[in-house]
Symmetry: C2
Subunit: 197 residues, 2 copies
DNA sequence: TACAACAGAATGAACGTTCATTCAGTTCGT
DNA sequence: ACGAACTGAATGAACGTTCATTCTGTTGTA
């Protein structure tokens, strides 16, 4: 009768899922305030009114999508990571994970990048999203204690080792540049050189 | 109609100038699509209709402001720079200039950062703004020829040495972090370490 | 008087959100 | 087993508001 392609889980969440996907896609192409709810509804093949069954309003929609994507990002970033790894190896693992996320899950990564660089997100949600980075901060602290990593603020470490990946993803997405595995390896070296002692 | 070669520019241009300033300030706080023309007019102490004497429409307003700010940025970035300088010294000069711009002219820098990270700017204007970086690209090329700088794409060099500054400016602006001269010197070392051979 | 700069009200399109209604599926009395 | 009663997800037209842009009249100046 209905979509039997998946189990019962597909039924309850299907509309909401479609809305989340549509939101990510449209916000990427036009930005938050330039994408009307009507367009999101249309792309999700759902009536405008249905959005309000799952989300309080437009801001709540964005906030929920942001948290969801950020959570997926963190899961990806710390996959196979183990806090008992030596600092250099742990960082390498996390860095490559993040790079893989940004280059494979482009839609989600672009969405995060836009949320993090514009006033469309409210501060509480932004703070919420920041929490997920804890393991990386801990790793850095340990690296500093062991004299392997520069004694500078985590903001600085992030700015020079992680943030650049977002830029590369952006230019690649605009078609100005194509990133190969070799580029990624170079990028990793540059990232590590900037933060290592 | 504008650009009168007479000396009355201060008066003739005063409304336009006020509009440009107001646009920068409001777009920084709320983003492009969330700032109505009426608010821009109010902050500039001008009537909404008057905007259309100086700008074709909202998009044209943003484009013009973008180009103007980008031009100011470039002038700042290459102040006292001389292409005959040794590579390392030339890069240091430009890097410190850019850092100074981002930390002194916060409003303008934030505006650029937002334009460069969202779909609010159309591609032609973006290309136009990119041209101004030529001298830096030339410097990097020379550095690569002299085996001083890694053999990677300028995008990569930019991502790791310049782009991070924008991140630091952003967190400082959000009040999460305060940047001192010492931080800047550390940041410069990190930037240089990431791109040098 | 003539003309450009300007103000502010007016306009119409587009938006976020609501709500009366429909519809598919489940429950329950028989 | 069967259909009437019920449930809540889903719809989409409609509403009030906001916005970019235009229109009309006023002011200042030569």
């Amino acid at each position: 009768m209905r979509n039997d392609t998946k189990g019962k889980e597909a039924k309850a969440g299907s509309k909401r899922e479609a809305l989340v996907r549509a939101t990510i896609q449209l916000v990427n192409n036009s930005g938050f305030h330039a994408t009307p709810m009507s367009k999101i509804a249309k792309l999700a093949e759902v009536s405008p009114g249905t959005i309000y069954l799952y989300f309080e309003n437009k801001q709540d929609l964005i906030n929920q999508v942001y948290i969801e994507v950020k959570t997926a990002f963190s899961a990806f970033a710390f996959k196979d990571y183990d806090a008992s790894l030596p600092v250099a190896e742990g960082f390498r693992k996390i860095w490559y994970n993040i790079a893989a996320f940004k280059l494979q899950e482009v839609e989600e990564a672009m969405f995060l990048s836009q949320c993090d660089n514009t006033p469309m997100m409210d501060e509480p949600s932004r703070q919420e999203g920041l929490k997920h980075l804890r393991p990386l901060l801990d790793l850095w602290e340990r690296g500093q204690a062991e004299q392997l990593i520069r004694q500078v603020s985590p903001f600085m470490l992030y700015a020079f080792s992680i943030y650049p990946i977002a830029f590369l993803m952006n230019v690649q997405q605009r078609g100005l540049y194509t990133i190969t595995q070799e580029h990624i390896d170079h990028a990793y070296t540059m990232a590590w050189n900037s933060i290592k002692l």
